[in-house]
């Protein structure tokens, strides 16, 4: 009987939700509303550190919250820099180079009216990193762990000064700090110290405040008129975020006027969107679609000539065409104009002849192909059109004498295998993993993948790449605190990575989004994150 009651309970719960969910937009007459369809299947976690990766940070993280530092997303023509956020300035101790002092902005209020100060910074760091703290939250801690890994300790100096010590010398701290979000301790107390309840009424310092959250259906944010940064007070009154994982659904929703802006329209819909006068915007951003490769004993890719040949065998222009033009041929990990690009001598291009020459030098040829097996996914965030693209490259490879075989996994399974490293038993005999990557900070983009000290799980070096010069430059970058100097060291590191053909780099996504012609004021930054505060929808 229990089971029956259970099911009946569920039925009535379902019926209840029919009656009670306030689903229609709560917009008041005359309000200007911006409605965005995201690609995620659910509203990212709103209680602090968002879930759902970059999209969570893009739409929830930097809208509801601020970090001590932030990305300057107001330019479309250059890579965004780190600028002051809730901290007005910071410095690192000359003596040990591990102790950082952050001077906090004064007079900043949370959405709930409480004051932001040094205590709240300490409280938030404990929330992520001190399991014994009452406010410690496992879920937020997990989500934040890519950014908090280098932190050793933190303390309050005075009401507007905090000191953070890193585990080892790490000049990249300001990058990480940008994605560690500050939420209001007062709100957590008010909600009975329950993070799940905070999720429906979060309180940050960001330019938007959460008005309403209907899980899996919509999040409605309203303007924070008191935001500390007067330049970033939203131009729209209300921001509605709708999860729509299905690409065709997003297109249909935009065309029918259900939303004003869609993320990642599918390449084959571009023509139709253009015909219907939609704006298509795109820009380079730190995304790369590569094969991360194994250089272990059993891998044909251990031989740098084979790696180079593979890089030369890909017809990237054809791929760009396949992607409706919304991709850029890769010349390395980072894009050509990026400050970390450097001066590699190995020019990544489409050159079948050279590829075949290198392969035959390495002892391979059309009759004796180099056989590689790579792990690919059927879909996934940032993976673009994995099936089509992999198929395409397989054909390219075949023409020069590389036989590529696939193991197709779903996205989460692929991520788990990437996290395990090429040397783990389950990855035996796999020579590459097609996991799209980012270079939004030097750690994940260059140091963490190229340094031999950063083999998984201590970093992102999947395939065991090892080059003493790369290690040396990686260490040097971590100890170079001057931003311009650091960029130079990173450019040298990138030069080595490309000359070693460390990975097979294919294309950069151009992050297309489609918008109704009435959407004005959007500047697409060269970033995974975007600022929607200047955006406004003109009345019809």
């Amino acid at each position: 009987m229990t089971t029956r009651r259970e099911a009946l309970g569920l039925l009535s719960a379902g019926a209840l939700s029919v009656a009670s969910s306030p689903l229609l937009a709560q917009a008041k007459p005359g309000e200007s509303v911006l409605r965005i369809a995201m690609t995620v299947a659910d509203i990212p976690l709103t209680s602090g550190q968002p879930s759902q990766g970059a999209e969570g940070i893009r739409f929830i993280g930097i809208n509801l919250y601020d970090g001590l530092t932030r990305w300057d997303l107001s330019h479309s023509d250059k890579a965004p820099a780190i600028v002051p956020g809730l901290a007005e300035s910071w410095s690192v101790s000359e003596t040990d180079k591990k102790t950082w002092t952050f001077k906090l902005r004064q007079g900043v209020k949370f959405h709930d009216g409480s004051t932001f100060d040094a205590d709240t910074v300490i409280w938030n760091l404990d929330k992520l990193l001190t399991p014994s703290a009452p406010q410690y939250d496992q879920a937020q801690s997990n989500q934040g762990s890519s950014f908090t890994g280098s932190l050793a300790s933190w303390r309050k100096i005075d009401a507007s000064t905090v000191e953070i010590t890193t585990k080892s010398v790490n000049a990249l701290l300001p990058y990480f700090i940008a994605s560690i979000f500050m939420c209001s301790p007062a709100r957590w107390e008010e909600m009975g110290r329950d993070w799940n309840k905070v999720a429906s009424r979060p309180s940050g310092t960001g330019p938007w405040m959460l008005d309403q959250l209907v899980p899996r259906q919509r999040a409605e944010l309203v303007r924070n008129p008191n935001h500390w940064n007067k330049d970033r007070i939203p131009k729209s009154d209300r921001l509605v975020l709708v999860p729509m994982p299905d690409a065709n659904t997003r297109v249909a929703a935009l065309l029918s006027g259900q939303v004003d802006w869609i993320e990642a329209p599918p390449p084959d819909a571009m023509t139709q969107l253009k015909q219907r006068k939609m704006q298509l915007v795109s820009n380079i951003y730190p995304h790369i679609w590569p094969y991360q490769i194994s250089v272990l004993e059993d891998s044909p890719l251990r031989d740098v000539r084979v790696r180079k040949a593979a890089n030369l065998a890909i017809d990237r222009d054809g791929l760009v065409n396949l992607l409706g033009g919304y991709a850029q041929a890769a010349k390395g990990m980072v894009d050509r104009k990026h400050p970390w690009f450097g001066k590699p001598s190995f020019d990544i291009r489409y050159d079948r002849k050279e590829a075949m020459r290198l392969l035959s030098e390495a002892g391979y040829g059309p009759d004796n192909p180099a056989r590689i097996k790579v792990i690919i996914s059927s879909s996934g965030s940032g993976q673009m059109q994995p099936a089509s693209m992999n198929e395409y490259i397989k054909e390219n490879f075949k023409e020069v004498g590389i036989e590529m075989e696939f193991e197709v996994l779903d996205w989460e399974a692929l991520r788990a295998r990437r996290r395990a490293g090429a040397f783990s038993p389950e990855n035996k005999g796999r020579h590459g993993v097609n996991n799209s990557w980012t270079y939004w900070d030097p750690d994940i983009g260059l140091i963490g993948v190229a340094s031999s000290k950063r083999r998984v799980p201590n970093g992102y070096n999947w395939g065991g790449y090892e080059n003493p010069k790369a290690d040396e430059l990686a260490d040097k970058a971590l100890q170079t605190f001057d931003a311009a100097e650091q960029d130079k060291v990173l450019a040298d590191l990138h030069t080595i990575m490309v000359d070693d053909a460390m990975w097979i780099w294919v294309v950069h996504d151009l992050n297309p989004r489609a918008m109704s012609p009435r959407v004005k004021g959007f500047v697409q930054a060269q970033s995974w994150f975007q600022d929607v505060t200047p955006v406004r929808v003109e009345p019809a």
Binding site: R4, L10, A13, L23, D42, A252, W411
Partner: protein, 317 residues
């Protein structure tokens, strides 16, 4: 009869326990690490161990099962790994959305099935019957996710007169109250209705033929009995069976709508199931399968009992 009903309900109990065991076992057959979904890029092994413990995945399986069962019995289906919301909170709106489209599909199927069945039954063995029977058979043989795509191509792409995906922006409340909501419901419901329509058509065809064979009807028929009278006879005889069929079809649709929901991006249980599978959200996956299977068991039981009440001549077991 009461004894039969009591017996029937009692017999359902072991099935329910078995179903819960299968649900649990299924999830623990899953290859790959369930935690991969909650861990960010580059999580250290220490973080991984901590999370594993926090989610209880380090306990022995029988213990995990008992803990899970205990919670399920009090209505706690656990918490989604990905969203951290209770699984029941995830399930409730999804079930409501699927029920909405399944219910409309069954109603459409019922109406279409009765029309087809009557045409067939009156003209049994004639070309009309063969034609309608073949159509009915196609209803079962057609891959209905593909039928959905065809409908999208026709009504969404070529003529562009009907919305082809999602539920519109009004949510479930607007499906039956606004024109736009109803339009969103139309294509998925019609797509799902073909199976119930075929099955009901076959059943009605048989029932009509049966009634027409009866001697007194034959006599009346010869005297010019109105087809509506025959129809009333048919309904009197077959209504219980037809209602039961509808109930069972409704239950099948609840569990089997995943393909059509995928085609139309309908935010119901199938869509949730898909999300749970591809994000490896095991508690959610377990919860959906269990809830849907239990609803299936309960609806079956309900239909069975109801049929016994309506028509005590039907003897079972």
């Amino acid at each position: 009869m009461l004894v039969y009903i009591a017996r029937r309900i009692l017999l359902t109990l072991p099935i329910a326990i078995g179903v819960s065991l299968v649900c649990f076992a299924l999830i623990h057959l899953a290859p790959g690490d369930p935690l991969s979904a909650v861990l960010p890029e580059g999580a250290s092994s220490e973080v991984i161990a901590r999370v594993r413990e926090a989610y209880g995945f380090d306990r022995p399986l029988p213990v995990q099962y008992l803990i899970w069962l205990k919670h399920v019995l009090v209505g706690d289906f656990g918490t989604s790994i990905i969203t951290r919301r209770p699984v029941t909170a995830e399930l409730a709106p999804a079930i409501a959305n699927t029920m909405a489209v399944a219910a409309v599909a069954v109603v459409i199927g019922f109406a279409a099935g009765i029309v087809m069945g009557c045409v067939s039954g009156y003209r049994i063995g004639k070309p009309a019957d063969r034609l309608v029977s073949t159509i009915a058979l196609s209803g079962v043989a057609i891959p209905h996710y593909w039928l959905g795509m065809v409908l999208i191509v026709v009504f969404g792409v070529q003529f562009n007169i009907l919305p082809t995906s999602g539920m519109g922006d009004g949510g479930i409340g607007s499906l039956f109250t606004t024109w736009n909501g109803f339009l969103h419901l139309l294509l998925p419901a019609v797509t799902l209705s073909v199976i119930p329509a075929s099955i009901i058509a076959r059943s009605v065809r048989g029932a009509v033929a049966e009634v027409l064979k009866q001697d007194h009807i034959q006599t009346l028929y010869a005297k010019g009995l109105a087809p509506t009278r025959v129809f009333r006879h048919v309904m009197k005889n077959a209504l219980a069976t037809l209602l039961a069929l509808m109930g069972l079809q409704f239950a099948q649709l609840l569990g089997g709508s995943i393909l059509v929901e995928t085609v139309f991006a309908w935010p119901g249980t199938g869509f949730l199931l898909n999300t749970a599978i591809f994000t490896r959200d095991l508690p959610l996956l377990q919860g959906i399968i269990l809830a849907l299977a239990m609803m299936f068991v309960v609806i079956n039981l309900f239909v069975d009992v109801l049929q016994t009440v309506v028509d005590p001549r039907i003897k079972r077991i």
